[in-house]
Symmetry: C2
């Protein structure tokens, strides 16, 4: 059975994909707003994970909607959740089983119980969050066994979590994105297979 | 790393154990109130799962406390949760990582977020619920690939979910347990390895 996993290039979605690949025919799916924005680092991360990788385009309309939400809210949470939901809905139209790397305790992105129910019943799909019941310590322990992880701040780090493109769009409108996005938001990127030296970025 | 999983003999705790056995040195742990109450069906279920199995004794005091809770509440939920918490605390004293087969949407047994935090910080352990993010359809799909499952009603089914012994204790006190326990509470028992004909009970 095919399973489409939302893949940012980071440790959580990478580990979730590897866990599910034991049971499902997993495809990694990275969503970007603009086709030109697909990072080589994410393609490389997918290669280290060793599963087929699809890049999918959310489009300018969703980017505009997200940018306006951030500007009017003054913080990015609702916008990031909206984009995450949109990406999951697109996957739900393509696969019988969809998944992501969200964990219990994640604030953003994270679907409410109602949104989870709506997604499953509207599209008749299963939505799996394999890491939901794993505490952070165990996610780190297991991820480190499978892959090499590099950490950095959003903005310095070329992963695929929507934030980079929204920051650029805010900058294009003449605002300073650091006013809207929390600093010290650590991101991770898969940069090697465990047991190798990895590729540092 | 050793991981002690609460094992009732049913499909959920069986699947959770198999999932974790890829990453941890898993031991199945079945808790009973009275040593004489360990069912052969559960020992057989553990053999079908193929992982080491420990039987642990909760003791008469916990059985009495649970029985009194059911009688005074008029329903078993709080008592079952109390026993489940007690069993997890005992495991937390024995293993660095503990786990069970509870799922999102399970009402009983299910730990509140506060109880999960308390358990982890008090004992300095990780508590994993590998099935938390799996919808029921997918738990069934994956469990059926690994094991043969037999279904039945509590009372007709010799699995290890504490209910049988509490029902007996209520009967011994001169009450009819069916007044306190919901009917049509379907239970499952692992009765074979997938790909075999299984053992029917």
């Amino acid at each position: 059975m095919k399973c489409g996993v939302l893949f940012s290039g980071g440790k959580d979605s990478g580990l979730a994909s590897l866990m599910l690949s034991r049971y499902y025919e997993v495809e990694l799916n990275t969503f970007v707003f603009d086709e030109g924005q697909v990072k080589d680092t994410i393609r490389e991360a997918a290669e280290f994970i060793g599963l087929p990788h699809q890049v999918r385009i959310l489009g300018k309309e969703i980017l505009n909607r997200a940018t306006e939400m951030v500007l009017s809210d003054g913080f990015p949470n609702n916008a990031i959740n909206m984009v995450h939901c949109e990406a999951l809905e697109r996957l739900a139209g393509l696969y019988p089983v969809i998944a992501d790397g969200t964990r219990y305790g994640d604030r953003v992105p994270f679907l409410t119980h109602d949104n989870v129910q709506r997604l499953s019943s509207r599209y008749g799909i299963s939505y799996i969050r394999p890491l939901l019941g794993f505490p952070k310590t165990e996610v780190l322990r297991l991820a480190n066994r499978e892959v090499v992880i590099t950490y950095g701040e959003t903005g310095d780090m070329d992963n695929g979590d929507y934030e980079g493109e929204i920051r650029n769009a805010i900058r294009m409108r003449g605002f300073d994105p650091s006013r809207f996005f929390p600093s010290m938001h650590q991101q991770s990127l898969v940069t090697g297979k465990a047991g190798t030296s990895g590729v540092s970025t």
